[in-house]
Amino acid sequence: MAYDKFNILTSTAVPLPIENVDTDQIIPARFLKATERKGFGDNLFRDWRYNSDGTPKEQFVLNNPIYSGKILVGGKNFGSGSSREHAAWAVYDYGFRCVVSSFFADIFRGNCLNIGVLPVQVSPEFLDKIFKAIEADPKTELEINLPEQKITILATGEHESFDINDYKKGNMLNGFDDIDYLLNIQKDIEKYAESTPL
């Protein structure tokens, strides 16, 4: 599915300094019953965000009006567990375009890249700096520069570079998805398939 192009994103960020945030927290299984990609943002972090009667849990960061923005900053090993792309959809649908962490689970990272959410992996030290900067001033802005592969804490100018492979970077910059690419090489695929008996 095509998505908006990603170039340079400047935004405040929402801090979630918890490690091993798994996709069951990002979106619990009972909200995976849809047959269309709609409305997942409402249930992002459902059980951390709402009580069982549907009232908001005031202490949870998404319910704290001080914090807002298009960037979610999470602790180490963000997105572990289930392969549900619904987790990445929920992040996107809620309004985030970028997730920053010191480590991402594999499938979640891939799902994000496939739907237009940029996963930015930084060093544990830089992650700590971001958390501290936001703690000191919730209006702290981060700049995510995809062409230069650079993340900057604007107030202090502190920055770090991040990795992304050239192919995926091109896709994000242009809003392309893998299927466009694969459909273009279908002849090669069919040729390969003929040679494999399974």
Binding site: M1, R30, Q186
Partner: protein
């Protein structure tokens, strides 16, 4: 050049390599279920394309299905709608579909091997992270997201950078009551839930050589819980014996040709791995988890570790114990429990029911325990009946449900209530995984059985010794 088992299978499936980018990897078998596929089929519809190779695609309903009264219409309208969507999509694209009530229906990772869909040397994907299960056969098998499901439906390929290689050796002999589940939970407790992220694992050594296919599936199933995309075991006589004669397994000349290829599937002696770890089987005892990720496991006789002794953030650790309402330094043995869940793609196979029955035979289910025993498939259910296991279960006060993922992810009505403790043979103890507020203790079928008859966390070796004395 010498190659690992993983290299051999991966490299032979690369249709195209993109410089500083992913490989285009051909997928031999694509397993589809109701939860992660509807948006992918919608994508095909929007592009106006059909499934490229329906004969390489198999669909079943398992995640969002009831485990009682499957012959009746599904009550929850959202679930019913999702199941209907799968059936319609499968029919529209000529994909074999084994829906509710079909004799081949069951959990996708149980029915793949049962029907011979899972074969050595194959690439297998499914929109489910526990697809790693199929690695037990020497296949490269891993979970994918819905965008990738759409890719495979439309082009039979996905685009993935080649992961790094990791070999996990466990040598020696396993002790009494130590099952494949314990081996896996032990490894995860040592490596942590992110210790193998970016890697594809190969399991090697005496313990896996001597393990049954069911056991190997349990181990490979849990590869994702240490962050690895998948894990695999070189195929051997045990593997060939298991797959021979199954419905989709090659026959006659095709079998001979396949055997020739399969016999080349092992890591060369001097193959290099990016990372290698080795454990001694005698170190492993029956395991149980005490926290909210599968890496938070200990030997059942041990105490809950102190925050300062663990790697990672103490705040996250304490949040986890708070959720479980446990304290550092407490013993796990003797902790009261409320529910027992036997089932899932991790431990829902016939061997798991045999193990469970071996402990509860001649005993009674504890009054304070609600037990949900859910076979992984109708074939497993049949075997439970044929082998007389159902009689043992019934005599002990247990009942058997119908196949499905059930309380492993609690999408259906099988939800553990808030605050209750469940000893579960499934794969994830995340907060709310088995129902909002539910508390999960992951363990083997033996530990689950011991809990089911005593009503608390119990070392199964104690019951086994009583048995011998009696």
């Amino acid at each position: 050049m010498s190659k690992t088992l993983f290299d051999k299978v991966w490299d032979s499936h690369v249709v195209k390599h993109i410089e500083n980018g992913p490989d285009v990897l051909f997928i031999d078998r694509h397993l589809v279920h109701e939860v992660t596929s509807p948006v992918a089929f919608l994508g095909l519809k929007n592009r106006g394309i059909k499934v490229l190779y329906p004969e390489r695609t198999f669909a079943t309903a398992d995640h969002n299905t009831p485990t009682r009264n499957q012959h009746l219409p599904v009550k929850d309208p959202l679930s019913a709608n999702q199941l209907k969507a799968l059936e319609e999509n499968a029919n529209a694209h000529n994909i074999p579909y084994w829906g509710l009530g079909h004799k081949k229906n069951g959990i996708v990772h149980v029915i793949g091997p049962e029907n011979g869909i899972t074969l050595p040397g194959a690439t297998i994907v499914c929109g489910d992270s526990h697809t790693s299960t199929h690695g037990a056969f020497g296949a490269i098998a891993f979970g994918i997201g819905t965008s990738e499901v759409e890719m495979v439906l439309s082009t039979q390929c996905i685009m993935q950078p080649k992961p790094k290689s990791l070999r996990i050796n466990v040598n020696g002999e396993l002790s009494e009551a130590v099952t494949p589940k314990d081996v896996a939970l032990f490894i995860i407790s040592k490596l942590s839930t992110s210790g193998a992220t970016g890697y594809f694992a190969e399991y090697a050594g005496d313990v896996f050589k001597n393990m049954s296919m069911e056991g190997r599936m349990t181990v490979c199933n849990l590869s994702i819980e240490m962050g690895a995309r998948g894990g695999m075991i070189a195929p051997d006589e045990t593997t060939f014996e298991y797959i021979k004669g199954r419905e989709y397994t090659p026959k006659g000349k095709d079998w001979d040709a396949a055997m020739e290829y399969w016999s080349t599937l092992y890591s060369d002696d001097d193959a290099e791995f990016d990372k290698e770890v080795t454990f001694d089987a005698s170190e492993i005892e029956p395991m149980i988890t005490f926290g909210t990720n599968p890496g938070m496991g200990i030997g059942i006789s041990k105490d809950i570790p102190m925050a300062e002794s663990i790697d990672g953030s103490p705040a996250t650790y304490k949040k986890s114990l708070e959720y479980m309402n446990y304290n550092e330094g407490e013993a796990m043995v003797g902790k009261p429990i409320d529910f027992v869940f036997l089932g899932s793609c991790t431990n829902g196979r016939i061997e798991d029911f045999r193990a469970f029955a071996s402990i509860i035979k001649g005993k009674k289910k504890a009054d304070n325990v609600t037990a949900w025993l859910v076979p992984g498939s109708h074939k497993v259910e049949e075997a439970i009946k044929e082998e007389g296991i159902l009689d043992i279960l019934t005599e002990a006060g247990f009942e058997l449900r119908e196949p499905g993922c059930s309380a492993c992810l609690a999408m259906n009505d099988d939800k553990i209530p808030a605050g209750k403790y469940a000893v579960s043979t499934s794969n994830r103890n995340f907060e709310g995984r088995q129902g909002p507020g539910a508390r999960t203790l992951l363990a083997s079928p033996l530990v689950a059985a011991a809990a089911a008859v005593t009503g608390k966390v119990t070392d199964p070796r104690e019951l086994m010794r009583e048995e011998v004395l009696a």
